[in-house]
Structures are given as structure tokens and as C-alpha cells.
């Protein structure tokens, strides 16, 4: 596998980075980087760590980094996670207020501990902590429950002062969305599977309305809706497809849709194959929308969708 850290890769301009990823030769990983400056979304680091943690360190080659911002990768714990030396020396600072280094979550207990420790690390006010821990819990639990990966969820986050935004990336190298969804549905492509996974009330565990005792197909829909209502970026990449929720301009009318393809979005198929799932999300801390108000919007569309789906199964009277 080959992955190149570009000059810039955030959700808004992530497409070329995803296209350039070379997933051939999965037993080795080669990391190259822009020579001058590297500025990347946490999801990029989560992806590289997820690819590398299953490999022997001698099968990971990282070229000597020259970019002035190379220390960031060391500080985020990328090389520690890969168990290789970068040769970069840094003075470790207390991470509070800035970032959550790359972390691996493999159990429910680790996730609970991670969420508890995360909020003080980012110095968040309660109103900002609420959606953040909600999103991280739901995303990481998806990995633990559905990805079927011993390597678990690889997650990191960074606060960006200039945009007053927290950016989160979470990656796994599990079975991917299509395999999970197709336990109950028949998605022909990875993009079909992503679309289903983002639709309210669709879960790979059952086709029954109301779901199972554990799943109802709400997690990813809630997260997409939080991003949509806050006009934040959100993206998901699994198999050879990705879906990106695009930002809407302030002042445009808020609309949540059951079908993710009705939201302002971009999507692409035939990308290099990602065995597993990657999710990235930006959470603007400037938003005035209270989490509690968002839940009203989300509830309305979720319940309406369930009701309409149920109605479609009604038996019709036969008139002669």
C-alpha cells in the first residue's frame, strides 16, 4: 500500500487524496509526504494508523519527512501507533485544549474511558461537549459492533482555532459497510450500501421495523443530521465509494431528508478500495443551534420515515 500526505487534505478537498491511495500489496505500507507543508484532517491520520497497526514495523516505510509541519504527525502519535521511529524530536506539551492523539479503541470499556477523558482534553463547554461525545460514541460503537475487526476503531481529533472547529476522524479496517448492510439488504454497490446506512431505520441486523434489541438504524442518520443541521462537513468512505455532505451557506433553509442523496452532497465510486470504513466530521463551535433543538428535527424525520415505511407494508383491501 502507498499513501501520500499532501500539502492539504480536509473534507472539502479530500477527493484527490482518496484517489491517490494505492491499496495494492496490503502486506507493506509506504508513506510519502509533501516536502514543504503537511496540513491534513485527523481522518487522514486515522486512516494511515489503521493501515499500519496490523503490519510489522519492518514492513512500514516512511520517507524522511522534510515539511516544516512534520512535528504535528509526531505529536498526534502517528509513529508511536505505527511502532516506527520518525527521527523527529519534539517537546511534548500537555495536549489539553488542542487535540486528541491517535487512539485505538477495541472494547466498550475503552470507549467509555476515552469519552470521559476526551472532554477535558478539548476544554469544551457543556453545550459543545454534548454533540461531540454523542458523535464519537455512536461512531466508535458502530465499529465495535459491526466492523468485525480485532484492530478496533482508530480515532483522533483536533481543534482548529481559526475556524473554531473540531475535526474528527475515525477509521477501521473491518468488513466494511456493504457486507454489514447486506446481512439484511441487497446493496449492489458500496455507494448503495452507504446510502442505506445513512437512511433512517436501516440496519444490517434486521429488516424488521423497530430493529432488534440493540439496533434500529439510527446512529449514522443522527450524525449525518447533526452535521447537516449545523452546516458542517461529514464524509464516509467504505469499499470503493465515498459520500460527502457538503456545507450549506448560512441563511439557506434547513432541511433534513431521509434519503442522503437529497442533501447537498458529492459522491464517487471506483475509488481505491478501502477495506473497512472511514468517517470524518467537522463540528463548528460557532453554531447557535442547541443540540436539544437538533434532536427535535431529527426525531420528526426519523419517526415520519418509520411511519411511511410501515404504511407501505399495509395490506390493501381487494374490491371486486
Amino acid at each position: 500500500m502507498k499513501i501520500h500526505l499532501p500539502n492539504s487534505a480536509f473534507i472539502g478537498n479530500i477527493d484527490p487524496f482518496l484517489r491517490s491511495f494505492d491499496s495494492r500489496e496490503p502486506d507493506r505500507l509506504e508513506i510519502t509526504a509533501n516536502k514543504k507543508w503537511i496540513s491534513v484532517h485527523p481522518l487522514v491520520l486515522s486512516m494511515i494508523a489503521a493501515l499500519g497497526i496490523g503490519l510489522q514495523p519492518q514492513n512500514i516505510y516512511c520517507e524522511r519527512l522534510e515539511a516544516r509541519s512534520k512535528h504535528y504527525l509526531e505529536r498526534m502519535g502517528l509513529f508511536r501507533m505505527l511502532r516506527i521511529s520518525s527521527g523527529i524530536r519534539i517537546t511534548e506539551h500537555e495536549p489539553a485544549g488542542r487535540f486528541i492523539p491517535i487512539s485505538k479503541i477495541t472494547t466498550s470499556e475503552e470507549l467509555t474511558r476515552f469519552i470521559t477523558e476526551m472532554v477535558p482534553l478539548l476544554h469544551l463547554e457543556p453545550k459543545h461537549a454534548e454533540p461531540l461525545r454523542y458523535i464519537i460514541s455512536e461512531l466508535a460503537r458502530n465499529v465495535l459492533e459491526h466492523a468485525d475487526s480485532e484492530k478496533g476503531a482508530i480515532i483522533c481529533a483536533q481543534y482548529y482555532k481559526k475556524s473554531n472547529t473540531i475535526r474528527i476522524g475515525i477509521a477501521d479496517t473491518g468488513v466494511g459497510i456493504r457486507k454489514t448492510i447486506n446481512n439484511a439488504y441487497d446493496a449492489k454497490t458500496d455507494l448503495d450500501a452507504i446510502r442505506l446506512a445513512l437512511t433512517p431505520g436501516i440496519t444490517g441486523t434486521t429488516r424488521m421495523g423497530g430493529g432488534t434489541e440493540f439496533n434500529v438504524g439510527a446512529g449514522l442518520f443522527f450524525i449525518r443530521s447533526i452535521a447537516e443541521a449545523n452546516r458542517d462537513f461529514f464524509m464516509i468512505y467504505s469499499g470503493d465509494a465515498f459520500y460527502k455532505l457538503l456545507k450549506k451557506r448560512q441563511g439557506t433553509r434547513q432541511h433534513l431528508f431521509a434519503d442522503p442523496l437529497r442533501n447537498k452532497h458529492s459522491s464517487e465510486e471506483h475509488l481505491p478500495h478501502w477495506q473497512g470504513t472511514v468517517v470524518g466530521i467537522d463540528i463548528s463551535l460557532d453554531t447557535n443551534e442547541e443540540f436539544s433543538n437538533l434532536l427535535d428535527l431529527i426525531k420528526d424525520i426519523f419517526v415520519k420515515t418509520i411511519r411511511e415505511r410501515k404504511k407501505k407494508t399495509f395490506r390493501r383491501p381487494r374490491f371486486a
Binding site: 466498550s108 454534548e130 440493540f214 434500529v216 436539544s292 434532536l295 426525531k299 410501515k310
Partner: protein, 96 residues
Amino acid sequence: MTRITLQDKTGPFAENKDIARDIRVKMILPALSEQEEVILDFEGIEGATQSFIHALISDIIRKKGPETLDRIVFKNCNGTVQKIISTVTEYMQESG
């Protein structure tokens, strides 16, 4: 009457579905089977995920019917938690 204080088991953010299932199976269902009223006390809970609440109560509504909600009291819930509980109870009844 059985009172279940959730914060002792979940901490201030209720998100662990395994814990939710344990509470349901080991505490709520036995009490309901004894025809008792159950008080789920959310004192000290700052937030909860839909997944947690689903794992806590959806199977009760599915198997015992929505009328069981008449014997469960959700106490000391903040606004956010109330909305998540309402979402779960509503979609479970819509899909029943």
C-alpha cells in the same frame, strides 16, 4: 416499586449499550414481571445516546407492548435525555 439509579452504572454520559442491556434484563424486566412500577432515575445524567436508550427500553416495548410504558417513570431527565427517550418510544410504537 423499583427505583433504578442509572448514574451509578453509566456515569454522567449514558452510552454503553452493554450496561443498558444489563439494566433491562437484570433489573427492569424482573420488576415489571412482578407487576411493579419502575422508576428510572436519570439524576446526574448529562446526556445519553439514542443507542443507549434503545438498548434500555425498546425490547420492553416490543415484547410487552407500549402499555408497559404506563408502569415506567423516567425521573430527573434533562431536556436532551427527555427528547431521546421520546424519540425511541415514538418510533417503537410507530413500527409496532
